[in-house]
């Protein structure tokens, strides 16, 4: 099969993009225990913030990317402080938080569409060469290789942060029980704020890379979010490594599935995988339980 290497390459690239989203989502979910749908809009915020810096402000891509990441992180932090934190203080159920995050998602996505139009746009790229790289019969772009590389780097970095630092210990304590964590003297507000900043920045980064790879659209956040959530669940919620593995599994199943049927079924394939996992292995591939 001469098309096989390309399908594998596509699966790996798709998987690493999903992994990037899954890493950020998992971080936030681990700390606050609700499905933060607003996370999807933050990928769009990051992508368009980078777009704005690179076009309107005329910045070089090297500077536009970190600025975009920063903006996404800050917006995530503001949302946490103005909405989620207040709801947590009121002891709102995770359903209320879910619905509120749906509101956040809708609001942010619509604001982006108003400022940047709902048209498809391609951000300028003067960092990565506009050539292709051939490897073992598969063709990839430098942007795609950068996605793969940065996903691995982020995975290692996050693993280190969560398991080897005091901050990580605090996050894991909050994950186990927020009240007990605050009783033993952890400043849970501050730590959760940082988690939101970090997770949202990762979402922004994922959005930027997706934008550089395939272009920007205000509605792209929803599918990125869903793929990230599905990856988290099939990998095991709360596990850094599991989320990444889940993302790659999703990438492979999607791309091989599309090879057999047609491209339009991609989302249906992803959701079928999700439902199968929820039914038969809800704890994910690498669960400890």
């Amino acid at each position: 099969m001469d098309i096989l290497p390309q399908i594998i390459a596509n699966a790996v690239i798709a998987g690493s993009l999903y992994a990037l989203v899954a890493l950020g989502f998992n971080l936030i979910f681990g700390a606050v225990r609700f499905f933060d749908l607003g996370f999807g809009a933050l990928t769009v915020v990051g992508g368009y913030a980078m777009f704005f810096c690179a076009t309107t402000l005329g910045m070089h891509t090297v500077w536009a990317i970190p600025l975009g990441v920063l903006v996404a992180g800050l917006v995530g932090l503001v949302v946490e402080k103005t909405v989620y934190q207040k709801l947590r203080v009121k002891k709102a159920s995770s359903m209320v938080l879910l619905v509120a995050s749906l509101g956040v998602f809708t609001l942010l996505q619509a604001l982006i569409a108003i400022f940047f139009s709902s048209q498809f746009q391609v951000p300028p790229n003067d960092l990565f060469p506009h050539s292709v790289v051939s490897f073992a019969g598969a063709v990839m772009t430098p942007v795609q290789l950068a996605i793969l590389g940065s996903t691995l780097a982020v995975m290692l970095g996050l693993g280190f942060l969560l398991h080897k630092t005091l901050f990580g210990k605090a996050v894991r304590a909050i994950r186990d029980d927020e009240n007990v964590a605050s009783i033993v003297g952890i400043n849970t507000k501050k730590i959760i704020g940082r988690v939101f900043f970090l997770g949202s920045a990762l979402a922004g980064f994922a959005g930027i890379m997706a934008g550089l790879d395939t272009g920007l659209e205000p509605t792209m956040g929803f599918s990125l979010l869903l793929k990230g959530v599905i990856a988290c669940i099939i990998g095991g919620v709360g596990s850094v490594f599991g989320g990444v593995m889940g993302a790659f599994l999703l990438g492979f199943v999607e791309n091989f599935g599309v090879w057999y049927v047609s491209g339009e079924w991609k989302d249906a394939i992803a959701f079928t995988l999700l439902i199968l996992f929820l039914l038969f292995r809800p704890q994910g591939i690498f669960a400890k339980k």
Partner: protein, 288 residues
């Protein structure tokens, strides 16, 4: 006047959707995000039966009810294994799968091209082709739906639903097979959504998959949350607010693309504010 009739028809159709979804979300406490799928199944059933096979509209409503309810039984069997967030996520997945089927089963649904030329209902030679006549018919069905939902929630069956919403385990201890109750109400609710879909297809006379996306389910969910969960009048109020609110923008004279996004801004802000300050909605009796 024609404009007001148009709005009234839309409000009635979405009120039917809200009433039926409230049975599942408000009264049974299952956060379903797949209502647009059943809305779509009803709409496609009517569209296909009336255009291709020349079946009478009212018969197609019955078939639409049956098809929606049957599909809901299948989906509900899987969904009944989940609760809370996972229920929401899995149901959203089913909406996405059903949407893919609308989009890709082209020999049946014509895919993205949609189905045009759906006829308005007619009975014994009388055609409800005028919008005002259609409105009367829709209001009649809205009243029937309202009555049905009220009867369901006031019956002993409905009281079991509310009890299982508040404490499922306690009810299981008393020997109730809660799964059957959840499945039955899910199928009933889906069937009613199918009826709303039939009216939608017949009113707009053209349908394509874009009306039955996950975002549409979210819209109906937002509608009942705004109006109030576990209150039938809440669904009516929610539909009125959610349809009328963006119409204000029409008079401001924004370009249509911006106006469409401003609607989303309104819905988004409304959801955030309600969750912060009144999580049970305006008339609601149940908090998520």
């Amino acid at each position: 006047m024609e404009y007001l009739v148009h709005l009234a028809v839309l409000i009635s159709i979405f009120a039917m959707l809200g009433l039926s979804l409230n049975l599942v979300v408000g009264y049974t406490g299952l956060l379903s995000v797949t209502h647009a799928a059943f809305f779509g199944i009803g709409a496609y059933t009517t569209a296909i039966l009336t255009t291709t096979f020349g079946v009478n509209f009212f018969l197609s409503v019955l078939v639409g009810f049956a098809v929606s309810a049957s599909v809901a039984l299948l989906i509900g069997t899987v969904l009944s294994r989940f609760s809370d967030d996972y229920y929401a996520l899995a149901s959203l997945g089913f909406n996405s799968i059903v949407f893919s089927i609308f989009l890709n089963w082209q020999s049946l649904t014509r895919g993205p091209l949609g189905i045009p030329g759906i006829e308005r209902p007619s009975l014994f030679g009388f055609g409800f082709t005028e919008n005002s006549a259609f409105l009367v018919l829709t209001l009649l069905f809205l009243a029937l739906t309202y009555g049905a939902c009220r009867a369901i929630t006031r019956s002993s069956f409905g009281r079991v639903l509310q009890a299982l919403r508040d404490d499922e385990q306690a009810l299981q201890v008393f020997g109730y097979r809660t799964t059957y109750f959840k499945l039955t109400v899910f199928a009933l609710s889906a069937g009613l959504a199918g009826i709303a879909g039939s009216f939608f297809a017949s009113y707009i006379t053209f349908i394509d998959p874009s009306s039955f996306t996950v975002m549409e389910s979210v819209f109906v969910l937002a509608l009942i949350i705004v109006g109030g969960l576990a209150d039938h009048r809440g669904a009516l109020l929610g539909a009125t607010i959610m349809i009328l609110l963006p119409e204000i923008l029409r008079f401001v004279g924004l370009p249509s693309d911006i106006a469409a996004q401003m609607r989303q801004v309104m819905y988004g802000s409304l959801l955030i504010l309600l969750m912060l300050y009144r999580p049970q909605g305006f008339l609601g009796k149940y908090r998520l």
